[in-house]
């Protein structure tokens, strides 16, 4: 069976610095793969090569067997791979509806002139958020007024709404308080139950063990090891992150 996402021998050099040397792994539908690793291990660089932000120096990425490498970030997105960045990529001054539709806004024509259909976009945002178990207090208010967890939910709602098959998250809980971290972990479970494949970057051991179906540990740009959470423990993961292979 072809995997949903296949990452094959990725390599990225910045000047003389080999940020990623040789990384391969696969993601299947409904599966959450956690990329763990110390600062500078190359995690963000790997996912940027998947999302099309960086072109790899070497190696390939396939989705359902089709080559993705070489495509622009927009093309990767329309191929069903949504990336949620650390800084969320929300426009704080816009309402949840416009953020949900950013770049793909809906218009309706009045006497042949297109007008933004804010109402529809707001209603859709409320609907998608409700499916995620989150009530939007004021759909017309800018997302700046929402909590960190709710904002994260908008970013995730965007992925769901646009029917992403793969969602990539770079430290989604890093900037959040404890209750909001829980909300996000619950959202990840929902995405999994919808059959979405997830790549989650995380430093946080409890999160890693809570969310992961598989843990891939990166150290100095290489895969230091791959484990299922049931067959490993905190200590071993930390040791692998520090670079003591296997």
């Amino acid at each position: 069976m072809t995997p949903l996402l296949k990452i094959d021998g990725l390599k990225k050099t910045f000047g003389g610095n080999e940020a990623v040397r040789d990384v391969s792994f696969e993601v299947n539908p409904g599966e959450c793969v956690v990329l763990a690793g110390d600062n500078g291990a190359g995690k963000s660089t790997v996912i940027k090569m998947v999302s099309g932000v960086y072109q790899p120096t070497d190696g390939k990425v396939y989705k359902n067997g089709t080559l993705l490498t070489g495509k622009s970030p927009e093309a990767v997105r329309s191929a069903g791979i949504e990336t949620i960045y650390q800084d969320l990529a929300l426009a704080d001054n816009l309402d949840p509806g416009l953020n949900l539709y950013l770049g793909r806004e809906v218009t309706r024509r009045v006497f042949g002139i297109p007008f933004l259909d804010r109402k529809k976009m707001r209603e859709d945002a409320v609907e998608v958020m409700r499916n995620l178990g989150i009530v939007v207090p004021d759909p017309a208010a800018p997302v700046r007024d929402m909590s960190g967890g709710q904002r994260q939910a908008i970013a995730i709602a965007r992925a769901i709404h646009w029917q992403a098959e793969i969602v990539i998250m770079d430290e989604p809980t890093a900037a959040l308080g404890v209750p909001e971290q829980r909300e996000v972990m619950a959202l990840i479970e929902r995405l999994k139950s919808k059959g979405v494949g997830i790549i989650l970057i995380s430093h946080n051991l409890p999160d890693i063990f809570a969310a992961a179906d598989r843990i891939i540990v990166l150290a100095r740009g290489m895969v230091a090891g791959e484990r299922r959470p049931t067959e490993t423990n905190d200590e071993e993961i930390v040791r692998m992150m520090m670079g003591a292979t296997l």
Partner: protein
């Protein structure tokens, strides 16, 4: 525009306890406009025993002054919402004015509508060229817009003076005179033009995808890029729009005074910037509205005209407008303090 403001007040009402204070602050520029109109009216009634407000001539003068400010301020509003600035509009105006005047003069006294139309297009083209250069500098060469448009401010100024031979280009043409000094149902044509452009810019900013992208660009450029929007093209469109609305200001100048001057827009630049900020925009981008800029332009126009009307030395207008700008910024800050900025 009034309904616009009402809507804004309405949607914010149930958000927080400080909402009443906030809606007052949102509406401060309206209140301020009413206040200064009231002030000059009382002044006129008590000092001269006549009315300030209900005299057609006064209203026309104010609205012509406001429309001059608006023609530079409308496109600028969108640029500022996108967290950029455009200083070169001062001379996009002048360049358009001079180019139009030169073509009409070259065609001779009895130049017809064809020539006038051509001159208008050429003037707009010259202004649009300045906008294209601005957009290219900012979007493709990553020059900060303050520096880039300061550069094109100088270049457009020089170009306008060079083609005009350093002097005012006077023309004699009935069509342009009618355009610049006529009225439609009693409304001066400059005001009609500014009004139509204001509606157009309001539509663009509030009701189109272009407008949403402009707001989003001002708040978080990375977000817009990741959403797949071509930010470079967006920036170019914004600067061209700004140059063209300013250029239209130049065309109206030439038509009104039957002369194109390179520095037609220069004294208005600061007023236009002020109008945008008084109208609620912020240097950091992401906020501002066309209705706000319209109010801002009228506040400045009323101050300008009112001070002259009341016989004070005209230089006081600079002081007064300066004070209003500072008030606008303070109001904006206290809004954040009251509501509590959560970012």
């Amino acid at each position: 525009m009034i309904t616009d403001m009402m809507n804004e007040v309405k949607t914010k009402k149930h958000s927080r306890g400080a909402s009443f204070a906030r809606s007052l602050l949102d509406a401060w520029s309206w209140l301020f406009l009413i206040l200064i109109l009231g002030f000059f009216e009382i002044y006129a009634q008590t000092q001269t025993g006549s009315t300030f407000l209900f005299r057609i001539h006064n209203l026309q003068s104010i609205s012509i002054a406001a429309s001059q400010i608006l023609l530079l301020g409308l496109g600028l509003t969108l640029v500022i919402v996108a967290a950029q600035i455009d200083l070169s509009i001062a001379f996009s105006t002048g360049l358009a004015a001079v180019v139009m005047a030169l073509i009409i003069r070259a065609a001779g006294v009895d130049a017809g509508w064809m020539i006038v139309g051509l001159a208008i297009l050429a003037g707009l083209g010259a202004a649009a060229a300045v906008g294209l250069v601005n957009g290219w500098l900012v979007a493709y060469l990553n020059v900060p817009s303050f520096i880039g448009t300061l550069g094109t401010y100088g270049i457009a100024r020089g170009a306008a003076l060079i083609v005009a031979g350093g002097a005012t280009v006077s023309i004699r043409n009935d069509h342009t005179r009618a355009l610049g000094n006529g009225d439609i149902l009693g409304i001066p044509i400059p005001l009609v033009v500014a009004g139509v452009l204001a509606l157009g810019c309001h539509y663009l900013l509030k009701h189109t995808r272009f407008g949403v992208h402009t707001y989003a660009l001002g708040a978080n450029r990375a977000a817009v890029e990741r959403a797949g929007v071509d930010v470079k093209k967006l920036l170019i469109k914004l600067f061209v729009l700004s140059a063209i609305t300013a250029g239209i200001g130049g065309l109206i100048y030439t038509s009104r005074f039957s002369a194109g001057a390179a520095n037609a827009g220069e004294p208005i630049l600061l007023y236009a910037v002020a109008a945008v900020f008084i109208g609620g925009a912020s240097l950091t981008g992401g906020q501002g509205t066309i209705s706000g800029t319209v109010i801002g332009a009228f506040i400045i126009a009323v101050i300008q005209f009112g001070l002259v009307y009341s016989g004070l030395p005209p230089y006081w207008q600079f002081v007064a407008v300066g004070l209003v700008i500072i008030i606008a910024v303070l109001v904006d800050q206290s809004k954040e303090r009251i509501v509590g900025d959560r970012s």
